[in-house]
Amino acid sequence: MSGPTGAPEGPGGPGTLPHLPHWGPWRTGLAILRRDLFVTGREFPIFLAQVILQPLFLLFVFGKVLAELGYTQPGYQQVLFPGLVALAAVLTGLQSTALPLVIEFSYSNEIEDRLLAPLPIGGVAVEKVVFAALRACVAAAVMFPIGIWILGSIPWHASTAPGVVVMIVLGSLLGAAMGLILGTYVPPNRINVTFALVLTPLIFTGSSQYPWPSLGRLRWFQVVSALNPMTYVSEGLRALMTTGVPHLPTWLCFVVAAGYLIVLGLVGMLGFLRRALG
């Protein structure tokens, strides 16, 4: 017979391709990332609407409406804006890994073709996290023009810009690692209730709408907030972007956020391997 099955011989036996000498697992990982970027790129406006809407409304109601009506003190925008950038990063990261993983592992099985690609199984998880973090970084970055548009001005110091970028990347990865855990440990029939039980507390205990050190009078809530990894992203961005707002020390935010990333990343990776390998 003629046709593609009669491919020239390679090292694997008759019919196999002569594989490229420089083709390593990392290039397979990049090819998988390219697939994800291709699909997201095709529906970029939908993606933007998806990630922007919630922070946009929070910003509008808390930063604009309440301020106009005189219910918030002047300067609250300083507190709110960095917190909402953190929220956009962490939440988008989380949602970009958790939901696709649940669907791809159970209903669509789409992930199988990638698990059968020539890269270590863990590489597929890393790609998921990197891709989700990219989406999260875009979501966080988009908050800046929106902030300027709604609030008129945003807190910003050019000198701390690199730190802000690093913290946004850290927050995005952190969210993606949390999503990796949710997406691999939660059974598909429980994902709806889990999302409801996890997301709301995560959003409202992450110090995005209030500065953590001011919680002294609500000690228990301060303790709860201290457990939320998002708190350190919110506080870190507040420390880097604002002046005159109480915040945790910058170094502490970086150290705890990085520590959380390592721990949650490892737990998520274990969950992924458990799901991917029988």
Binding site: G6, G12, L20, R35, N109, G278
Partner: protein, 346 residues
């Protein structure tokens, strides 16, 4: 003369036999076992076999026999509890990445990328495997053509039928030219035409020298497609040989289903007695209503059924009747399976 029901117009049987390599096996499995966590017994209890290059190897067994576990281990998705498994010489446990380069998988259920078109599914799969761009574009077009998918390359997988999905998954698996192709229950849920199309493609792959390992609980499929069949049940390999040898090895009993047009004077009892007196015949059975015509008689013979046709015809003539049709029945894989396990496959 009609052939037995299970050895009909097989696409594979007409194809030239593949050149058997004497060197490295396409698949080599030694004492492979798997016990899932919390399971009381082993799903796979120390199985060993070898698949030669260019062979179509059938895995036959009921659901839960260990077929999918074996395929899962060979395709690096399940870790064995013990034992060794090599695909194209690559150890699937020690070097799963290397193994994934040389194997292709067509799973039981649709796992196509629903966000991509048919053609993009093929192209991206090839890109994961490092197939250069120009080559993968050409290959995708050729495979879409070969698998009858060329008219709607931009359609999404959801828009296609089960048979077309199956073909897309095979085409996708071939994009990186695997040395061994694993097909897990490929014709489950397909209509007869789609199944035949699939069988023809598998026969083509075989003639092109691709090793194919196929799991099935369908006797016809195993007998039609496979050069050799492994019968597996409760995680144990019960038998492994060519379909013909498996059947031959089980029993030498054959059947002759005769249609006899009797003269009014003919006596069925007498014919029956005469047939049973033949040395190769050990039983007879009326398949129709004994009072009706024509008579339909099943004759059970030992050894070569064809050799018994002439004496049977002679006796029928002597009894004042005319033999109008003879059908030779071979025992089939289903009989072998029942023989080995004591129960029917489905």
């Amino acid at each position: 003369m009609p052939a037995g029901p299970h050895h009909g117009s097989a696409p594979a049987t007409g194809a030239p036999g593949p050149a058997r390599a004497t060197g490295r096996a396409a698949v080599e499995v030694v004492e492979l076992a798997k016990r899932y966590p919390k399971a009381a017994t082993e799903s796979l209890a120390g199985v060993s076999f070898r698949v030669e290059q260019g062979e179509v190897f059938g895995f036959l067994g009921p659901n839960g026999a260990g077929k999918t576990t074996t395929i899962g281990i060979l395709t690096t998705r399940i870790r064995p509890t013990r034992g060794r498994a090599l695909v194209a010489g690559v150890d699937v446990v020690a070097d799963p990445v290397g193994a994934r380069r040389v194997l292709g998988v067509v799973p039981q259920t649709n796992n196509l990328d629903r966000s991509l078109s048919v053609r993009q599914n093929l192209l991206f799969h090839a890109s994961y495997h490092g197939v250069p761009r120009a080559r993968r574009q050409r290959l995708a077009d050729e495979l879409l053509e070969q698998f009858g998918l060329a008219d709607r390359p931009e359609g999404r997988p959801d828009e296609f039928s089960g048979g077309q999905i199956q073909r897309m998954m095979i085409a996708r698996a071939l994009m990186h030219a695997p040395a061994v192709l694993f097909l897990d229950e490929p014709s489950t849920g397909l209509d007869p035409a789609a199944r035949l199309f699939l069988w023809e493609r598998v026969a083509e792959l075989r003639s092109a020298g691709t090793t194919v390992v196929i799991t099935t609980h369908d006797m016809d499929e195993a007998a039609t497609l496979s050069d050799r069949v492994a019968i597996i049940d409760h995680g144990t390999l019960l038998a492994l040989d060519t379909p013909a040898a498996l059947v031959r090895g089980m029993t030498d009993e054959r059947t002759l289903d005769c249609t006899v047009e009797p003269e009014p004077s003919a006596d069925p009892e007498a014919l029956d007695a005469a047939l049973r007196a033949l040395p190769t015949v050990h039983a007879t059975e009326r398949l129709d209503d004994p009072s009706g015509t024509p008579w339909r008689i099943r004759v059970y013979v030992h050894g070569d059924a064809a050799a018994s046709v002439a004496p049977v015809a002679q006796l029928v003539g002597a009894a004042g009747a005319r033999l109008t049709d003879v059908r030779m029945g071979e025992p089939n894989l289903e009989d072998v399976f029942i023989h080995l396990t004591g129960r029917a496959l489905r």
